[in-house]
Subunit: 205 residues, 2 copies
Amino acid sequence: MSKIKLTYFDFSGGRGEPVRMALAIGGVDFEDHRISIDEFRQMREDLPLKAVPTMEVDGVVYTQCNAMTRYAGRLTGLYPEDPWQAFLCDELMEAIEDTSNALVKTFGLEGDEMKAAREELVNGTFTQYLNFFSQRLDAAGGEHFADKRLTIADLKVFSWVRSLNAGFLDHVPTDLTSRVAPQLMEHMNRVAKDPRVASYLADIE
Amino acid sequence: MSKIKLTYFDFSGGRGEPVRMALAIGGVDFEDHRISIDEFRQMREDLPLKAVPTMEVDGVVYTQCNAMTRYAGRLTGLYPEDPWQAFLCDELMEAIEDTSNALVKTFGLEGDEMKAAREELVNGTFTQYLNFFSQRLDAAGGEHFADKRLTIADLKVFSWVRSLNAGFLDHVPTDLTSRVAPQLMEHMNRVAKDPRVASYLADIE
């Protein structure tokens, strides 16, 4: 199989970041093609489903971020082989996509309309999902989300929580996670200290 | 592990049907808990993410339909073990969720607003995705979506195409698939003739 070319925005979050993280920390040699919003607008109509991330393999452009993350996880041993542990991973990863879908609905809004939509998101979906992830983490033993070790589910939640905390989403308070789900802050710090993740973060920052 | 209890609406489609199909045709003994819209409204606030399908295992209620379908596929041999074939399955299954998310946005609309939204859906997302699935089927050899055999990706697309054709979505023409992607009609008929699927359909109809 030829080298994977992953195309996504040049920022540390969103739907593409967990794929990049999994490939990078698992030591897969891939092309990390980072694009600007303008470049995306220019290529959008030619993309299979008009969205990024895309993953090009052997000249074919593929879609769907969780499919990519899972594939990267399989290549790198970061996805459980046990069916039930894989299910636990999958449930978390798909739930993160629910939050992305809810967030995307607020893109393009402005002024008071944006503020109201984001506040509803923060107090509704985001709070609900932070609580849900916190409960799942607790049920899995409190350290990792599945398989008692670092998996792509950890990378997915890590990347999302980091984005919430980063302050680049208007009207999303950077202390939301620490107020609602302090356990997820501990989880974020735990993942960041994993030597493979620490090395990745040092490379990109 | 205790018996799986799957809770979903009592109709042959939507996010729960591929899970039921995979469990049933794979011979898994599960509780097929079918609910009405009213029952859903009554239980909604108590559900982990206020949505169905849910899958209860050992007293815990889990969410996310594709995670469930994939788990059912693993239990029944309907999900490829090969990482690349599994990726091809996953891409298709997640793309179907894109169409569900687009459809859900039209729920609750009425009159001309509903008509306009559904026509936009039909001519936009639905047509785009039918073409996409058709191309993927072609690339996989034209018979099945992955692994050259029946997998959960086939069940997922089958269930979706059947729903499009069924006429229970207002303003979605029942000949949409046959006009846009005749290959997917052939695929639907092929899947329906699989003895395991034929037996399942005979049981529920």
